[in-house]
């Protein structure tokens, strides 16, 4: 059996029957995506590797629950996101939120930011741009970064983000607005500095 040419659905069927080679092929196909999602949320390579591996272990344990309503990659991505959210909640309990987050919760900060008039991507090479976006993402609070990840990368609707983050739709909209405006300002600053 050549696993490399099989579809994800076929590999899932084999894996459900205990075929670890089939599961390995699924890991090989989607490991970068899972790691990238964990890294974007956690901002730490080791933590992202551990959490993405833990997600694969959970995926294996729960293969019987995968109904095929979404793609296998999407299903696995949801698992790693939930693990990251759990980890972030643990962290949040262990320390107070930053002053920046408190400002946002009380409202109003994002309204006072000047609008960025120039496209911050203009004139930048792809790799340079990627590293600058990465740097800017790292300057957001975990809460704002998470909303961005769920909306921009996962294309989740406001109501689903509210559900997964256990908050109101209005809070999601406010956090997303703040996160985008902050990113625009940070990218503008990075461009000036570069």
């Amino acid at each position: 059996m050549d696993h490399s040419t099989a579809t994800d659905d076929a590999l899932v069927r084999f894996a459900r029957n205990g075929d670890m080679a089939a599961f390995e092929e699924l890991v090989a196909r989607h490991r970068d995506k899972l790691y990238a999602r964990a890294y974007t949320m956690m901002r730490n390579e080791d933590e992202a590797i551990d959490l993405s591996q833990e997600a694969w272990v959970k995926g294996w344990q729960r293969l019987a629950q995968f109904q095929g309503e979404s793609s296998f990659a999407t299903w696995m991505t949801r698992i790693v996101i939930n693990l990251c959210l759990d980890q972030l909640r643990k962290r949040k309990r262990q320390r107070a939120e930053s002053i920046e987050a408190m400002d946002e919760e009380s409202g109003g900060v994002e309204r006072q930011m000047p609008i960025v008039m120039v496209n911050p991507a203009a004139g930048l090479e792809r790799e340079d741009l990627r590293s600058r976006i990465d740097e800017a993402l790292g300057k957001l609070t975990e809460t704002h970064r998470t909303v961005l990840v769920l909306h921009e990368f996962e294309q989740m609707e406001y109501k689903n983000i509210a559900k997964i983050m256990n908050c109101s739709i209005g809070t999601v909209m406010s956090r997303l607005f703040y996160a985008r405006r902050k990113m625009a300002a940070l990218l503008q600053d990075l461009k000036k500095a570069g």
Binding site: G18, M20, F23, E24, V27, A28, R31, D32, Y35, A36, R37, Y39, T40, E45, I49, D50, S52, Q53, E54, W56, V57, K58, W60, Q61, G107, G108, E110, R111, I115, V116, M117, N119, P120, A121, R126, E127, L129, R130, I133, D134, L137, L148, H151, E152, F153, E157, Y158, G170, M173, S174, L176, F177, R180, R181, M183, A184, L187
Partner: protein, 167 residues
């Protein structure tokens, strides 16, 4: 300056989350308000930039190394054995096994050493990185004292360690 409610409506319009009944109001605003148009442009550019970002993030481990750790965690389950908790860090799990194995090996070496010495005295053998085995044999009382030293900077509080007295 626009009210917060209108700013959030503008964003919802951009994201396709604004009800059709409210979209007309936003379109009218965009037609007449320069600040609203600029804000929409900024939000749109930022959204597109971020969405394009993740493509370049790659796992910094080889396929084999990454898979090996997953395989170790799921293999006992597939073989009908007890599943190790995914919450336990993989490195810590291996470390505990290695330390336990090292302790068993140390005791075995100690027994061999105590048999091989014809006269009384002490000995020291390095058995692993940072771990040393000491023995003391007293033939007058026919006893052998054996102890393991992992060094002062090492904490193996959960592992077996210390002296054994053999007749």
């Amino acid at each position: 300056m626009m009210k917060t409610e209108m700013q959030l409506k503008l964003q919802a319009y951009l994201d396709g989350e604004l009800p059709a009944s409210e979209s007309r109001g936003v379109r009218d605003l965009l037609a007449n308000d320069r600040e609203a148009r600029e804000l929409l442009t900024e939000l749109s550019q930022t959204r597109d930039l971020i969405a394009a970002h993740e493509a370049g993030v790659k796992l910094p481990e080889t396929r084999e190394f990454y898979w090996a750790k997953i395989q170790r965690a799921i293999a006992p389950e597939s073989q009908g054995g007890r599943q190790r908790s995914p919450g336990v860090p993989l490195l810590g799990w291996w470390r505990r096994i290695l330390v336990s194995a090292g302790a068993v090996a140390a005791v075995a070496i100690a027994v061999l050493l105590s048999w091989s010495h014809a006269t009384g005295g002490s000995d020291a053998v390095t058995i692993s990185d940072g771990a040393t085995l000491f023995t003391y044999r007293n033939y007058a009382t026919d006893t052998t004292l054996v102890w393991l030293d992992y060094g002062s900077g090492t904490d193996f509080s959960n592992d077996s360690e210390g002296a054994k007295l053999t007749p």
